[in-house]
């Protein structure tokens, strides 16, 4: 479903990605783990089109989408949950989701207003992430956990084929983490999910397969059990992997 071919990216003298080839099948839940600086965010930025690779290709649904702008990737069914929330701060949660919903039909409806159906959809989505009661609250007044929920809601509102989750549980309390993890676990099986995470409990709960990224390369890849037992991974992480 989403695939990278020998992706490389250098910044000046620094090599962030050094030949990353991944293949995530449709409906698969893939976790990408690795120490800080391993290149995970760079990888995500390239997948979403916000960054261009120095070389290599990105394929989405079989089509070559390398160097395509972000909005085109979004229209092809790619949605992203950012690590640092990218919300419409002064707008209400409902308005946030409405904007996400409106992207599909396009904004050039100068005489149109959000329909009752759209508002209902927005409410449904907010409900599904647990924000049903907070739909009129401005985004900036929400708690950190709620903001992450809204961030997820925006991605889901795009009705994507592929969902990229960039550290979804970053900065969350255990309760919030559990809630969001269950939310993600409960998403449709047809949805392809790629998740970058540091919290290993979340990774093992959600992932079908894990790719370990280290210094811009894929160090190991396989089922959670296989990765957990992999000697090289253990060495690299030095005990960060739950043995």
């Amino acid at each position: 479903m989403i695939e990278t071919c020998d992706l490389r990216r250098t910044f000046g003298g620094v090599t962030a990605l050094d030949g990353v080839s991944l293949r995530v099948d449709a409906g698969e839940r893939r976790a990408i783990i690795g120490p800080n600086g391993a290149g995970k965010t760079t990888l995500f930025n390239i997948l979403t089109g916000e960054l261009e690779p120095t070389s290599g290709a990105v394929l989405l649904g079989g089509d070559d989408v390398t160097r395509r702008p972000p909005y085109e990737l979004a229209r092809r069914g790619l949605a992203r949950m950012y690590q640092r929330n990218e919300l419409f701060e002064t707008l209400s949660a409902e308005d946030n989701v409405l904007l996400a919903l409106g992207a599909a039909r396009g904004p050039y409806r100068p005489l149109g207003s959000p329909t009752a159906a759209e508002r209902a959809s927005a409410w449904e989505i907010l409900e599904s992430v647990g924000l049903g009661a907070r739909e009129s609250a401005p985004a900036r007044s929400l708690s950190h956990g709620e903001r992450r929920q809204l961030e997820l809601a925006l991605a889901l509102a795009q009705r994507p084929r592929v969902l990229l989750l960039d550290e979804p549980t970053a900065g969350m309390s255990p309760g919030e983490t559990a809630r969001i993890t269950e939310l993600i676990a409960g998403l449709e099986r047809s949805l392809t999910i790629v998740i970058v995470e540091h919290d290993m409990d979340v990774v093992f709960r959600l992932a079908d397969r894990i790719s370990v990224l280290h210094e811009g390369r894929v160090l190991a890849e396989g089922t959670p059990d296989a990765v957990r037992g992999d000697r090289v991974v253990n060495e690299v992480y030095l005990g960060k992997v739950v043995a």
């Binding site: 992203r80 701060e89 409806r109 959000p114």
Partner: protein, 318 residues
């Protein structure tokens, strides 16, 4: 307030405004008041169109008068060349010229963001000014185009000051209605999204460059209407209608009145024109006053008069 009451209030306000010359005819300085109010409405149209960029889309344009001038020149030149004073023709020419210019300039300008966008709009406005200055055969250069005919529509002519005022006021109301509709529509919401978080908009699937360009063109077209009205009001079009001072005048109006609302730019235009036209009869340093007011608002009351009003209202209610 329910929708019916709001609509009725709006219609009543519009009627009061448009018929101003009639019910103020008994005043001592009625003629003067009509002229000043007319010019305030023209500046208000320019300011309101600019606020679509500044307030809604978050694009701080300092070159908006280029489209105002394009509209003014467009209406005047077409009427002159074709020897036809029809109102619809004039408006069409104005909107056509200004929208086209906005498209051309916009294609370059929207590729820049923030400060660079601001500087580009300044530079382009000056370029338009220079073209208007140099194309003497077309625009009259620094002398401008004098003797601009006021338009007529189906035999109804707008030559007299009262009739012209009613035309200006009616088009003002029209522009306000258009902007009100646009701002509350899906399109307007998308513009606000653009202002709030462009990165997220792109990630959601919006072509933000095209969105910015469309806002630029719409705002330019509306400014063009103001330009046409200016030419008809003064019976004169000159490079004063295009350059940077006029652009800054519009921006100052938007900021002092308050961005992001329909009332703000209109109030700002009233205040600015008052300082520029009425005050100088008492004091000689009106521009200085305006500059100082602008500084004070930017530093202390960034939300403008409307913002101050809202804050006061909230405090009273609490």
């Amino acid at each position: 307030m329910n929708r019916f009451a709001l609509a009725a209030l709006t219609v009543a306000a519009a009627a009061v405004l448009i018929t101003f010359p009639l019910w103020s005819s008994g005043w001592e300085s009625s003629r003067y008041a009509t002229t000043i109010l007319r010019d305030m409405l023209v500046l208000a149209i320019l300011a309101l169109s600019l606020d679509l960029l500044v307030g809604s889309a978050g694009l701080p344009s300092l070159g908006h008068a280029a489209f105002f001038g394009a509209g003014a020149y467009g209406a005047a030149i077409v009427a002159q060349r074709l020897g036809n004073d029809d109102l619809l023709l004039g408006l069409g020419a104005a909107v056509g010229a200004s929208a086209l210019l906005a498209l051309v300039i916009g294609l370059f300008a929207v590729r820049a963001a923030g400060i660079f966008f601001l500087m580009l709009t300044l530079a382009f406005a000056q370029m338009v000014f220079a073209v208007a200055f140099q194309a003497v055969d077309l625009t009259g250069g620094s002398n401008g185009l004098a003797g601009v005919h006021r338009p007529q529509l189906l035999g109804l002519d707008f030559n007299g000051p009262d009739a012209l005022f009613e035309l200006v006021a009616s088009l003002f109301v029209l522009v306000v209605l258009i902007l009100w509709r646009v701002r509350s529509s899906t399109y307007g919401r998308a513009l606000v999204g653009l202002r709030e978080n462009e990165r997220r908009m792109r990630a959601l699937g919006y072509d933000t460059t095209r969105l910015k360009l469309s806002a630029f063109v719409v705002a330019g077209a509306l400014a063009g209407i103001g330009g046409a009205l200016s030419g008809w009001s003064l019976r004169f079009v000159s490079t004063n209608d295009v350059g940077i001072p006029r652009s800054i005048e519009a921006f100052v109006s938007v900021l002092i009145g308050g961005t992001g609302s329909l009332l703000g730019p209109a109030i700002g235009a009233v205040v600015v024109l008052y300082v520029e036209r009425v005050l100088p009869s008492s004091i000689p340093f009106a521009e200085t006053v305006l500059g100082l007011m602008f500084i004070v608002f930017v530093a202390l009351a960034r939300q403008g008069i409307v913002g101050l009003g809202r804050a006061a209202y909230r405090r009273v209610r609490a």
